[in-house]
Amino acid sequence: MSSDLATPATRKDASAAKSSGAREPVWRRAARWETGLVAVLIGVLLWASIKSPTFTDPSTAFYFGVNTGYIAVMALPMTFVVMTGEIDLSVASMLGLSASMVGYLWHHGWNIWAAFAVALLVGVVGGALNGVLVARFGLPSIAVTIGTLTLFRGLAEVLLGSLTIPTIGDRQFPQWLTNIGVNSIPGTQVSWSMLIFIVLAVIFGVVLHLMPLGRAMVAVGLQPEAAQFAGIRVKRMKFWLFVLSGLMSAFAGILVTLQQASVSYNVGNGLELTVVAIVLFGGVSIFGGRGTILGVVLSVAIVGSLQMALTQLNVSSDKQNIVTGVLLLISVIVPNGGEALRRAREFVRRRAAHEPG
């Protein structure tokens, strides 16, 4: 992007930052949001334990992991991408493409590890395509990734068409691998995909909050031009973050393939908005530069356990949708609500002061 009159920085000033906490240190804002999330999480867990007799069943933890683990894995690179002020809407399609690639190769007699390797490579290539278009050609990521969302899903359809792998007569996927969808880690109720997510979350958290790369991402998200002048390779960073996002989505595709022990091309359809919702609810600013991995982890925990509890209570999925939407709205309204109230009060005061005069 050129150094034109209106840069992203002024955009941020105008919308998000101008309100409440712009002048406050980042960590204090974040800390407060995370505190709120912890409170919400505790509230949800308490409420669910009281309301739903089966919520305290140990298997809930396992199911929670199975249902949310692979989505959460995509939320991590998405956090990085959003931190730098971009967005990747192609993650769910990449998940589908990678899974379809595994299925396609498996169907054609490949070794499972070779199939995984190719699927991950597809993730890297797809991510690189996003990266090139966004970082090198300067195209807006929201538009590019809507395009690749269609493209990747389309390629998955080309690969598998109407097939579900394994088809009748195919080999089954190796059972010791597909067991990750059925069995928890021995001696615990933690699913494998959740363990993977937790390990990754620690790594991503360290990178974001304690490493130069993380600092650089924050700077890029807040003010790309200034970051560039500080020697940060903005384009290169964005490129690699999209590659990372592609890779992790492909990995999530492998996870989901194993959990379901099968693949169709439409696996993970529509998950992109779920991933974005999780990241945003975790307190990551859509304008970039603000957010924590802890927030995203808490968000995963809240969204996942709410879904478990509501399904157990047989709350209709439409009402669950409403809950998801309301959570998102709360995530932006609460931090800004105080400021809005203050503005409203001032407005009323001014009105009142004007009227007699």
Binding site: D57, Y63, T164, I168, G268, T311
Partner: protein
Amino acid sequence: GSTSNKNGGSSSNPAGGSAGSSSGGASGAVKQGLKVYFIPKDTQNPYEVLADKGGQKALSELGGSVTVSSGTTDTAAAQQPSIQAAIQAHADAIVIAANDPAALCPSLNTAARQGIQIVAFDSDIQCGSNPNHLFINQADTKTIGTSEVDLLAKQINSQGEIAILSAAASATNQNAWIKYMKEQLKKYPKMKLVSTVYGNDDPATSLTVLQGLLSAYPNLKGIISPTTVGISTAAQYLDTHKDVAKRVTLTGLGLPSEMRKYVTDGTVQSFELWNPSDLGYLAGYAAASLASGTPMQAGSTFQSGSLNKTYTMQQGDGELSVVLGPPTVFDKTNIDQFNF
């Protein structure tokens, strides 16, 4: 698939006998207070809603209860939590219309291992023997495929180019029917299937691909749309484009209530379906019966309440299934008698 086939085949006779002696084939043997989870493709699909209501009716007749649970999107992932909830609630049976033939197998297998009976309806699962399950077939899969081709053939004098307007490319039931349509078409050498297009059960997409189809194949004589959204969208198009309606004949699977207008005004001559409510009702009875100890194997029988029929499980298509009955063909003469 093949192992289960063999097992089922070899053990069918003695097991059938024992089933007969233990349960006596009477619905009176059904346990009270059964908990059955109905997991439709999504909670809003009107067709599935009718089926669920049928299931509810069945279980309330039998003194049990039905929980309907699913997502809002037609994905396997959205059905997963419902299966888990059923497991955790120690349900007696799960009746599922699977969004994916295989993706739910691991979860369903877990459920089966906890003693939950698995019944599939509308769209079958392909899990081999993990778990064993009973498929409530709306009509014999092969019959649906062949009869639709026959229906169309009758109307276009068995000749000309035809096409299929399906739902999503990955829809299991659609693909199963299409397979048999293709087989049946071999009997009509003058009818040529030129294309299969996918409208994703979205009316707008269906319209776009339909028009694309019509311009790609100007000599198209017939369209089979084995999906309710597809056939009604196509019917509306033909209804408003009489020039096209004159040369193109439409048939497939549709709901009488959606199609009545077009059959009455002659745009569509005939199409098929079964009563979705009966389908759910039968599934409910099957699930209750299995949960009450009827063994899941070929030859087992169970009563079906107001359907007034004793159904026998059969090993067909490599899967254990019962067939609701032949599909009803709707046309001008009978369409007013149906209100679903």
